[in-house]
């Protein structure tokens, strides 16, 4: 029990030990700046609550376009990375499709 309590104290002190962001200009928070450059998924897990809070306040203060642009950039980045199947993955995909097609054709046509 003592260990669990200690673990919680350590974890929460790390997670919530952030300096509070400037509420007058939340759109310039370091998490938003980082997300603009590298995307929200690149943010460390411990920074996510701070990012969500900052982005919410930023939206309320008229920064809607900025937050939307972060998301659009991230969608586009992921899309560019996995737009085409490369190497063995397309062969694998075709094999899976063929197996499932064969299974469902068998299910419909085979009479027991």
């Amino acid at each position: 029990m003592k260990n669990i309590v200690c673990s919680f104290i350590i974890c929460f002190s790390i997670i919530y030990s952030q300096d509070t962001f400037n509420k007058s200009s939340p759109c310039s928070d370091r998490t938003i700046t980082f997300a603009r450059k590298f995307g929200v998924k690149a943010l460390p897990v411990r920074d996510l609550p701070r990012y969500f809070k900052a982005s919410k306040i930023c939206r309320e203060k008229g920064g809607e376009t900025l937050i939307d642009q972060i998301q659009i950039n991230e969608y586009n980045r992921d899309f560019e990375q996995s737009k085409y199947m490369s190497s063995w993955t397309s062969t694998y995909g075709m094999c899976v499709t063929a197996i499932i097609f064969y299974f469902f054709v068998g299910l419909v046509t085979v009479v027991k």
């Binding site: 690149a42 969608y75 992921d78 995909g93 094999c95 899976v96």
Partner: protein, 246 residues
């Protein structure tokens, strides 16, 4: 020496913290599955009345999975589809034991995918299955009707007889679970829509093929007969919410 032990204990905590700071390409999925097995051993049992099957206990599966994206078009993970049933058994001589049944389809899927649009992904999954089913009987025969005639062993023998096992157990110890394992495979085609860059809704359809044998159940070191279930060559549909920590 004492301080060394304390340091040793803090190592897992440090490892956990390191994983928080890193940027893993990990996603966590939570959802449900839907399939239609035939559970003749429970639904058409003439000797024991099992809890009446319904959509929750027969067709619905709880789905939990974790994936790691090791390549920009492929991910590998661990996926569990779980079916649960619970209720009281009728038809025993003097008792009404509580019955639990679980079926776990544990998978190590290899999934390839590509995005047809920035928010839409198609994925292809093929996976081996290590299935495990458990039957648990919690019985208190002596306190059920006051007579105390029936023992735990008698209850287990009645259950096994209902599955067609006519070789009675001489004595049942405190362990009250019968288990079976089997191997199988599954293939699925999926469609994923990202409502946020890090949250998606994933719908999959495919099949499960399990090599389940009713004669391969284990109970207290002895091979016994279990319920008849048809869980091979069945179509399956899953719906889940994906949270990417990538």
């Amino acid at each position: 020496m004492k301080s060394q032990i304390l340091q040793f204990k803090s190592i897992p905590l440090l490892l956990f913290m390191v994983s928080l700071y890193s940027q893993p390409k990990i996603s966590i999925d939570l959802g449900t599955g839907f399939y239609e097995p035939t559970m003749k051993g429970f639904d058409s049992n003439e000797l024991v009345s099992f809890p009446t099957g319904n959509i929750l206990t027969r067709n619905l599966l709880i789905n939990f999975s974790v994936y790691y994206e090791f390549f920009h078009n492929a991910r590998v993970g661990y996926n569990v589809l779980k079916s649960i049933d619970i209720g009281r058994l009728e038809g025993f001589a003097t008792s009404k034991p509580v019955f639990y049944r679980t079926i776990n389809y544990r998978m190590i899927p290899l999934e390839t995918f590509f995005r047809i649009k920035p928010k839409v992904e198609l994925n292809f999954t093929l996976t081996p299955i290590w299935g495990r089913s458990r039957l648990i009987l919690e019985t208190k025969p002596s306190s059920s009707d006051g007579s105390g005639v029936n023992t735990i062993t008698d209850d287990w023998n009645e259950l096994l007889n209902s599955f067609g096992d006519e070789d009675p157990l001489s004595q049942v110890a405190s362990e009250n679970t019968m288990v079976t394992d089997w191997l199988g495979y599954s293939g699925m085609l999926g469609y994923r829509y990202y409502i946020r860059p890090w949250i998606g809704i994933d719908v999959k359809m495919g099949f499960l093929n399990n090599n389940y044998k009713k004669n391969k159940w284990r109970f207290q070191g002895k091979t016994v007969k279990g319920p008849e279930m048809k869980i091979d060559e069945i179509p399956i549909f899953t719906f889940k919410v994906v949270y990417a920590l990538k």
